[in-house]
Symmetry: C2
Subunit: 719 residues, 2 copies
């Protein structure tokens, strides 16, 4: 090796080459169990934390339901769920629906709702199949039908107990998604027979993506254009039967399977074409729009309330986002603590490799997600409560026909629309990103189906598209915020409800260069909240300026509208987190406080730093401080309690359904065990092995060529 | 409706409610074919554009290969590829490997390489199975073995023709991914028998993820710790046979299927455990490290060159990123142009809905991706050339044992390491994001398997993890950049190769608040390039400052190191795009110029705006201008040629393999046709229908309860 220095040795090769000189002892294989269990040593009570996150009563309910789900032979998740074909997924899902149909008869409505919510974390296909029936179909009938109609379709017929009828929701068409008003399906009133004729006039009018249509549903609640005496009254809702009691398709109803999808293979999505299908007039849902025997159409003013039935789905998806992130951050943190990779510089041979959770970058990838998850837990719990309360008030007000109370409720639904719209879109996007980041943080093992990421991601991402495409929804929220600020600035309006802070708009735009956050303030969540409010207001203000100069072209500012919706979602989460912190027991409050500050620094100040800087809400020094100092410091504070903070979600191994994510931390044994169990060694060769063997045992190309290419053949022909 | 005004009508409901008053005629179903074909009207020659993107010779080669692949009965993609089970995927893949084994015998090496590259766009499972054998295994033998060893294992045995032997690459272990130096598998020299004993000492030492191991491979090139006379010499490479000519596992070799994965189901990844398997000494690859008959170990200095064989994979993945983005941006733009949704405000009943590609937000979501794709096409083509040239020079230099030439080549590989490392990690991350954005832009239809997104994404994302985990790779690149700047600043070094601009470091940090980009400059790609160089240098500089104050803790600045790698990747793409533009024919140059400026504005100035602002490279006004004005304007300029600019990738329908993305633009007919074809109507009920029917036909809970719960029963017992 005397000539070593002849060669340029200043080279910086990839780390695994650079470190090749460091010996790692083969005597000390990794011991993830003790790495993880060591970090559980009684630093705080995870049950207390769970109670704080979910509320005491809900925490108890959830633990009771976890126990029931874990033990239920049909409902519990298994690693086999990662192996099955589409048809098997659908059968499994049918089995689980049937099982859930027993629980719905005995659970309280709140327990059943929560049971469904928890099942959905690991089996979203079954979750949505039930939600389409009980959520979309039943709510559509309830929201758009008269009391008698609801009673007939849902109670008498036991639909709401998943019995007799099974409903699907026929809104979207092949050519019409977000713009429901563009639906082409027609419902033409035939005065002579007192019927509606339901028809699919074109291919683009084919009802598309209809969950449950392919195999389960007996009835549909569909959106179709009401045509009476040649006049088009726009899109209304109708109950149209699809299958008889023998479960055979009715005449005129053409249904097909939508086939293979990115995920949710357990759901029997279908397409539906109606060919002049006749339904009695009273199958039209007539709470609002009414068609009389003579074809007189009345459109009462409260029709706008019919959309409220859709908000429940959005609230649910905001909550789902929290639970799915909790699932994967638990897995990723356990893996990060148990996994070791690379030795420290100057380590001795016998030193173990470093826990990857100790690397600054790994902390920075995962701990902000953990903090976000806490913010979402508290925020979406609050959103659920808000939704329940508003719905209850509205129902009471409408029942009492109390105009004042109705107006109050309509005001409340404004907040709910903004809150659920911004949180549905923002949270579902964030959840997709968080699942991805957690997966990548587990390296190659994140790609194994048995660790749960792949199926969960594929099942998840449709949440960004359905029940209000995230971009469309966010644009709509952004528009509402801008209009609110316009009202404050031009008419001196006061904004109520959850975005009351917009009423301060005038002050925040008086001096557009006035800064609202100093370096010292980055530790103060409430000051960060104010800074965020200033940013939202200033973005609304600059949007209004743009609208003035572009002739009111809202389309041109849609990018900012989406941004506003995201900011508003974080505002909701941050405000709520701050508000709830004081309720926490003093034994856990300090840890929550760290997470709150990490959340506010990483997801608000850092993520949107360009916008803060551009709008002079804070100076460059804040960005530098947050990015280079505060986030790493806060991550270091989280580090010793990372395991307990994820344990606190109390999600059982069954729900995590991840070989590397189990509570016991025995990562490698568990993972290898499951791989072996799911992939028996017999037969020793692949069924298709002969293809490979024949290929490898083939002769060379010369041996396989007939003699036709040889010189001898050439000579034969003398050409 | 007289009481309408009693209710608050200032409400901003979701758009589909807001627009419900707008009638959409059911007489004019969408006509995507004419929408799309109209935009093809001879604006420029797409073949000319293709030749510019790929180079004239490569363009010709690619079109020839597309023709061959499209027609080949085994190699062509079909919609059935989206339906099949894991075992069917693996069989299909075996069939395709066998077919490719015929082409390798007749194609030129360049054609075969390109054929594999193109096949990989739609069947990455087959692509990687072949690449593991020819790329990883053969290159490992070539890079680490002597000429005789290479000849024996690869030529004589026809491995390089996919015949006789089939190799796999045994690097990673269950407990060891990025840190190859931590491998636990041992290769202990037995002087008595002149053999190595290969052993897996612990569960974490199990070779894991080994592509081809489960069913195909006959041999493995493995990484194991060389132990001679009790001394551990670190990780070296060995050829270990796995299966005999009957394709049966050899004694002592335990192999299992790794089972279900997120994607790439066609790949037979396996795990391997060796139990004291003996191989002759000459099975150790001994180009560098040599073990003599007597157990004398020599480690010559050039061992660092052994990693070079891994760079080819990274270059390939950078190129793959371009082609996969091209595939999905083509689909998304065609759909965006053909799809219509919502009418314009104040539109008449008979006006068609708006093409969604005309919405500002839709343009902003897709056109930057289109621009990025062009930048990647040109940049990765250049990277491929760079790689080929350097490898050729190095081989010649080593063969001639020319120290000076070897040193020159080592210098070149420094650039190649930075370029391939930053482009592999950045491009593969970006590709994952772009597939996602394109999918979401197609709304619900993006979720159908028949449109290609789901499978492609699931197959894709492993690229971010394998052959150099993106984060680890990016950290390594960032470190090299920082060290280079340190050399310039402290020793006055001159940096050569592709990062020569770092030599200007002193100037860029002289006045850290000197701005390098004004509002006028945002139209000048070369000024943007300079600004980017300044940003890179200043980030390196501030990292060095941090290192000074933290005692040289590189870990603490890993976040910035990753950022630097991303910036460097964009620097490479931007510099190259600028350089190539002048070669373009004048008939296409103006369109390329728009894309170049859009790329530079969106992906450089806007994406990293917080860093530019923080480092005073440009003032707030630039960010505002770019974000609010320039990007939307450039998108508007792209809009009329969007179809042609995606057509120019010339990817055939077979390769796109997407129902909504076909060239003819007949979105709805194609899509509906494929859904029907793939999902025959018979049987009319699901195989598991009885589960659902029995559930729906069950009696009520009272009917099903035995009498045991009734009062009558209670009375019986008198308790």
């Amino acid at each position: 090796m005397s000539d070593e220095n002849e060669y340029d040795d200043d080279y910086e090769p990839p780390p695994f080459i650079a470190e090749a000189q460091v010996n790692v002892s083969s005597e000390a294989p990794p011991d993830p169990v003790s790495s993880i269990s060591k970090e559980r040593d009684g630093k705080f009570d995870t049950l207390l934390m769970h109670q704080f996150l979910e509320g005491k009563a809900k925490s108890k309910q959830i633990l009771k339901l976890y126990k029931s789900l874990e033990r239920d032979p049909f409902l519990r998740a298994t690693f086999n769920d990662y192996e099955i074909t589409r048809e098997q997924s659908r059968e499994l899902s049918a089995v689980r629906i049937n099982r859930m149909a027993r629980y719905i008869e005995t659970d309280s409505p709140e327990d059943f709702h929560r049971r469904l919510n928890l099942l959905t974390v690991y089996d979203p296909s079954t979750g949505i199949r039930i939600a389409v029936n009980l959520g979309l179909y039943v709510n559509c009938v309830k929201g758009n039908g008269t009391d008698e109609q609801y009673k007939y379709w849902c109670v008498t017929n036991q639909t709401k107990d998943i019995n007799k009828l099974y409903g699907c929701f026929g809104m979207t068409e092949l050519g019409h998604g977000s713009n429901v008003a563009g639906c082409e399906t027609t419902a033409t009133f035939d005065e002579e027979t007192d019927e509606f004729v339901i028809d699919t006039p074109t291919i683009s009018a084919t009802k598309w993506w209809i969950g449950g249509a392919a195999h389960s549903a007996t009835h549909s609640a569909i959106y179709a254009r009401l045509i009476v005496k040649g006049k088009d009254y726009g899109v209304k809702t109708f109950v149209v039967p699809l299958r008889d009691t023998d479960h055979e398709l009715l005449p005129g109803v053409a249904i097909g399977d939508i086939g293979s999808k990115m995920g949710r293979e357990g759901v029997d999505n279908g397409w539906i074409q109606f060919s002049d299908v006749r339904i009695p007039r009273f199958f039209m849902l007539q709470k609002f729009c009414k068609v009389s025997r003579e074809g007189k159409v009345t459109l009462p003013p409260l029709e706008q309330l019919s959309y409220i039935s859709l908000l429940g789905g959005r609230v649910g998806m905001a909550v789902d986002s929290y639970r799915i992130i909790a699932r994967f951050i638990t897995i990723a943190v356990r893996y990060g603590v148990g996994r070791r990779q690379f030795q420290k510089p100057l380590a001795e041979d016998w030193d173990p490799e470093v826990q990857i959770m100790d690397y600054a970058l790994h902390q920075r990838r995962l701990f902000p997600i953990l903090a976000l998850c806490y913010a979402m837990a508290l925020g979406t719990s609050q959103l659920e409560n808000e939704h329940t309360a508003i719905l209850k008030d509205l129902e009471a007000a409408v029942k009492a026909n109390d105009t004042k109370a109705i107006n109050k409720s309509i005001g409340d639904t404004k907040s709910l629309f903004i809150d659920s719209g911004s949180l549905k879109s923002t949270n579902t996007w964030l959840a997709a990103d968080c699942i991805t980041e957690c997966r990548q943080s587990c390296g190659g093992h994140g790609y194994s189906a048995y660790n749960g990421f792949g199926k969960a991601y594929d099942d998840w991402v449709v949440q960004c598209t359905w029940e209000g495409d995230n971009s469309v929804l966010a644009m709509s929220v952004g528009k509402t915020l801008i209009k609110n600020v316009e009202g404050v600035l031009s008419k001196g309006n006061k904004v109520g409800g959850s975005v009351a802070f917009l009423s301060n708009a005038k002050e925040y735009v008086k001096d557009l260069k006035k800064e609202y956050l100093t370096d010292e303030d980055v530790n103060s969540p409430s000051k960060i909240l104010t800074a965020l409010e200033v940013l939202i207001v200033r973005l609304c203000y600059s949007s209004l300026e743009t609208l003035k100069s572009n002739g009111g072209d809202w389309d041109a500012i849609s990018h900012t509208r989406v941004l506003l919706s995201k900011l508003r979602a974080h505002h909701y989460l941050l405000q709520n987190f701050i508000g709830q912190l004081s309720n926490a027991d003093s034994s856990i409050r300090p840890f929550l406080d760290v997470l709150l500050r990490l959340y506010a620094n990483a997801w608000v100040l850092d993520s949107f730093s360009a916008d803060f800087l551009l709008n002079y809400v804070y100076p460059q020094s804040v960005k530098k401080l947050v990015n280079a100092t505060r986030i790493p410091e806060l991550c270091t504070e989280v580090r010793p309690r990372a395991i307990l903070l994820t344990d606190s979600f109390l999600q059982p191994d069954m729900l995590l359904n991840s070989a590397i994510g189990k509570y016991d931390g025995n990562i490698y044994e568990n993972y290898f065990g499951i791989v072996k169990e799911q992939n028996p060694a017999y037969p020793s060769k692949a069924p298709h092995s002969k293809i490979l063997e024949d290929m490898l045992n083939r002769g060379s190309i010369d041996e396989r060529s007939r003699e036709e290419l040889t010189d001898e053949t050439k000579d034969l022909f003398k050409i």
